[in-house]
Symmetry: C2
Subunit: 686 residues, 2 copies
């Protein structure tokens, strides 16, 4: 995270380095007084044991959750999702820890000692001739000196907020990016981007403003005992705008609900997590200078917008770059002979994205998302079959554990977090605000999108999207990140309640809601046209009326087409073993580079990975007109054809649009010569 | 770890909880002076960036290592193993960090402030009206106040020793246990146990005593500037007695060297890691009371022996218990329908072993080893096919990454560790001592073992074992664990050099050594008799002369046979879906329990997992007389037979030895009736 949020970050690396900070007094040779040493030793031992016990508690929780999940899946119980279950177990253990353990304050007696100017990060204290080293933990507001950390066990189970952000979120987000159902995702890309960016911004501002009204009301009524600024309200808006699809999507997956609705919800919630993170950083960065702090300041506002754009694009770039590097490495080495090495490399590169982004001042979590998408789009195709399943399974397990851990912890935090501030007015206001914010986000945006979409987003879909705006892990992680002030503590408690409510009530109501809204279920979300003969389908599509092409064109905006042809003609051939050979797509003066970058497999690419190429079904109706480039050769050899295409392409210039036309021409040409065809169902032939 | 070592342990749980200890000053609301806050923020940001960079350095190192490993494997280079490679890259980066980065001391100015009796764990400091919280880091000897932590970057790449012990070793050790080639391991169990326990103890004491001589010599010559006790020498002996087989075994695997030699080396090094850990704890626990510290004290010695036995058996029990619990859970739930849940459960249970052992005061790493063995022996058979590969692959990747990380770090530590003490006399002495220690361990023990073994350990094998006593990750982790005193620093530096030497020189010399010693290569270590017809082989074996049985009996000691029949008749049927039904093995008054515990699969167990049952090849010659219980039914149904066996068994009493006899009788009987046969090639029929 960039900006002021940064200063409170003990990041992932610290988690490893930090252990040193907790070492009890080191062995001081044989000369020290044995009694004292023994006491310290006992204490350290006790603390060590408590740590183990507290982690064991979480493992027990997760194990229980897993077993109950199995039971639920086994019995086909759908009213409660596994995440809701994890929260319930967390709650129970939280109650036990809260009311079942003695509240000992231990030996942590605070000690005051006046000092000069500003705090050092390290302190040496002379205790009867021996020196002890202390590290700065943080500032404590004077009022709280006596009521922090009273219960050892409660403190032990309270993880640092940054654990969530730096350890638990990255695998969840990476998995989301890596397992994005690309076909349906790209088919609805425009709408997804609109919902994620515009929608989240709208939702954030509406919630923020409504909550500011609530806060003013609370001031009037006298319910507010400390400061609550406008920026805090906006931050709350950003935090609570991150929707989490786990519950809904799990049910969708199980019931095989409509794939487009699935894509819209999943795509939105994945991207709006990223938007919400960056948005919250930008809001924290919005600090007007001078006297009028926390009022509107144009310069500060534009600075915030700049921060938003900077962080977002920077994180995006980081993710994309490491993905591309991994793709190149896996393409040009024969690493795929050693799946273990390949998997390890993949894991390391994906992790390094996070660190790289953090090191450069961007947001690791967002970078990891785009890295996941890039890895799925390019690198995945270069991996060996074993590595594909290994990487998928590895991140699946990590994601599963991390997610359930977060939800258990949420349940636990309701009772073990010691600074809760529950304000009924604020909570009710927040529920109303998120309802209105979601409504103002979904319905108007859907209306606007429907103006441009052929396949309209139906009312029932809109209601379902409205209903499915659950809040989950990301909202929690954002809210727990900063609980230092009164306003943030109130926001955290409220967020926790909202997450509970949405996951239990809304999540449990998904199945009834689906049937009430008459949304079709039983559709296979992985529904694919039968493999390897989609080229024939394209032929059939070619033969049909051009009305479909018209409609198709409406949907595939020029920007997307531009990107697609660039991706298909240059990026895929460079980064993977698929796509047309670069020698045919690059201008002739790049011949040498093109030959170097094109892998030999491309030329004899009969077993082309059709999955990646069928991602782009531009027609979202039931009939599949695929933008495929599958090579169908009757006799199994495509050598001669390649030469033809090669010559073909060198004759023409290769601006992107021309390449498309050429490819289309080539496609018609190839129908007879049975070579690589690149059929784009536009009106060029009409 | 139990005993005095404990007090220096910031354990795994702390790594997560610790992050809180490093938070920079928390946001103190809007009222504080902006300038001061800004400075702290900048500092925290800088520190965060450096942390990311330092972890990125390691990822870069690992990535480079992976790519070079691939190149080496691709080119079939064998003179340098991947671990040696990782060390070289680590060395290079260490040199760069050491001499390439400016040595800034930052703002960590120590501050002295006199205080009363003994240090508090938390300190509140009043800095111009604001309160800051500090946590105790540890004691610092007065002489070192000014020379610790001079270089920020060097400090950043210096991980806490306990990271190695609590994060990196467990996956390595668990993987070793989980992937133990059981068949060859159990075939040589006696010898392996002798080498691991007796051998390590012998080696430890010989090295310890030799080093004490060296230390005395150094004192005479005046090379020693601080204290070096006899217990320190013994600790060094324990540390350096942990052999690491990675390099040798990788080459053995690749060359398909002799399986028995492989089993001996692998088994010894896996178990002696455990022995060395517990041994070093016991030596630390050996603290004679009264005036004569660091001299011999019978009471303290027996206390140490007690500690050794206690920790070892406790850790063993912990590992076995969690393994058994996992086996029961996976057996009695239908979790295998959901491989993700199953894998997650497996992972959590295996990890909880570590925590459980630590919480109970035993050694987590040792517990994890036995947990791995139990999981492989029982749980693995209950897992679904997908979970089997998932769990194997998951721990394989973790093990790979952890191992290479440790070896990279070793390279790095040679230059970045700031308290090296290289004493030429000590180093030369240590090399001589480990050579002599290894020799005194291998040759006499092999001689004794050969008295009892039919299949003698040949001279060439002995030489190879002598040669293959590499030191690796475990020795490093044990040595870096405590570097507080002069003697321990010298031991650490020496250990590092020994690891370098053995991995590079000895590891690289494995291939030439193998051919020089004429050890046969090209044997498939996974060599199995053709599946499903080993029963017929047994039949053939049965028909042959009883001389083989005689020899077989010599090798399978009664203790092992007792354990085997207990395992086969009770444990396997209880914990897995294989083995004879409990209703046949338990006495009749346990009928109800037996019926509850026996899974239905056992009765119609045609597709019995033969892998687990062919583990026990009691004859280690080339002809395979398997102790198998494979059911061969001509018509595919075994229902009637089960009833027969059932009746058979109820007729006889079922003490273990009788069960064996009965099974043997049954076997002969079953030849005609085609039922479950349990052939034990002993002389009962002769």
């Amino acid at each position: 995270m960039a900006g002021p949020l940064r200063r409170r970050l003990p990041p992932l690396p610290l988690l490893l380095l930090a252990a040193g900070g907790l070492r009890a007094a080191e062995r001081s040779g044989g000369s020290s007084s044995a009694m004292e040493e023994l006491a310290t030793e006992k204490e350290a031992e006790e603390s060590h044991r408590q740590d183990s016990v507290s982690l064991l508690t979480f493992i027990l929780l997760l194990t229980l959750t897993i077993l109950t999940i199995w039971l639920f899946k086994h019995r086909r119980v759908r009213f409660l999702h596994e995440t809701g279950l994890a929260m319930i177990y967390g709650l129970i253990v939280g109650v036990i820890l809260r009311y079942g353990t003695p509240s000992t304050s231990g030996h942590d007696k605070p000690f005051s000692c006046s000092q000069e100017d500003r705090p050092f990060t390290t302190l040496l204290v002379n205790v009867s001739g021996k020196f002890f080293e202390y590290t700065l933990k943080g500032e404590i507001s004077p009022g709280k000196i006596h009521n922090v950390e009273q219960n050892d066990m409660l403190r032990k189970v309270t993880f640092d907020p940054e654990v969530f952000f730096n350890i638990l979120l990255p695998p969840i987000i990476f998995h989301a990016g890596y397992s994005l159902k690309k076909r349906h995702f790209f088919r609805n890309l425009g709408s997804i981007l609109a919902y994620a960016f515009l929608g989240t911004a709208v939702s954030c501002f509406i919630i923020g403003n409504l909550m500011y009204g609530v806060v003013k009301l609370m001031k009037l009524v006298g319910q507010l005992s400390d400061k609550f600024y406008y920026t805090d309200c906006l931050l709350f808006g950003a935090i609570i705008s991150a929707t989490d699809p786990v519950t809904v999507l799990a049910i969708f997956n199980e019931l095989h609900a409509d794939v487009d609705l699935y894509a819209l919800l999943f795509g939105e919630s994945v991207l709006n997590d990223a938007v919400a993170i960056v948005l919250s950083s930008s809001i924290v960065a919005y600090q007007p200078t001078g006297e009028n702090t926390h009022a509107f300041d144009a310069a500060a506002f534009f600075k915030s917008v700049g921060v938003f754009l900077g962080i977002f694009s920077g994180s995006f770039m980081m993710g994309a770059v490491t993905g591309v590097v991994t793709a190149l490495v896996t393409k040009f080495t024969k690493l795929h002979c050693f799946p273990l090495l390949e998997t390890a490399l993949f894991f390391l590169m994906s992790w390094s994205t996070f660190l790289l982004a953090e090191a450069c001042g961007f947001t690791g979590v967002v970078a990891v998302l785009f890295c996941g998408i890039t890895q799925a789009h390019y690198t995945y195709n270069n991996l060996s079959v074993e590595s594909r399943s290994r990487t998928k399974q590895l991140f699946e397990v990590l994601h599963f554990l991390a997610e359930n851990f977060i939800f258990s912890y949420m349940g636990l935090a309701l009772f073990t977090f010691q600074k809760h501030i529950f304000s009924p007015v604020f909570i009710i206001g927040a529920f109303v605000a998120i309802f209105l914010g979601r409504a103002a986000h979904i319905y108007p945006l859907s209306f606007l999108l429907n103006l441009g979409r052929r396949h309209k987003i139906s009312w029932s879909f809109q209601h379902m999207m409205m209903f499915s705006g659950l809040r989950g892990a990301m909202a929690f992680a954002l809210a727990i990140r900063d609980t230092a002030t009164y306003s943030h503590q109130m926001m955290f408690s409220t967020t926790l309640l909202i997450v509970f409510f949405t996951v239990w009530i809304v999540g449990g109501g998904t199945t009834p809601m689906l049937s009430w809204l008459n949304i079709r279920v039983g559709v296979d979300p992985d529904q694919d046209p039968p493999p390897s003969n989609d080229s024939f389908q394209v032929l059939q599509g070619d033969g049909q009326d051009s009305a479909r092409r018209n409609r198709t064109k409406q949907e595939s905006a020029w920007l997307f087409r531009l990107w697609y042809s660039f991706d298909h003609n240059y990026l895929k051939p460079i980064l993977t073993h698929s796509g047309p050979p670069l020698t045919t797509t690059l201008p002739s003066w790049c011949g040498l580079i093109a030959r170097c970058l094109t892998s030999p497999q491309v030329y004899d690419n009969q077993e082309q990975l059709r999955e990646e190429d069928s991602d782009f079904i531009l027609n979202d109706g039931d009939l599949t007109v695929t933008y495929g480039d599958t090579t169908i050769t009757a006799n199994g050899s495509s050598g001669p054809h390649t030469a033809t295409t090669n010559l073909d392409s060198r004759r023409t210039k290769s601006s992107s649009e021309e390449a498309l036309e050429r490819d289309l021409g080539a496609a018609d040409h190839e129908v007879t010569s049975r070579g690589t065809r690149l059929v784009f169902p536009l009106e060029y032939n009409a």
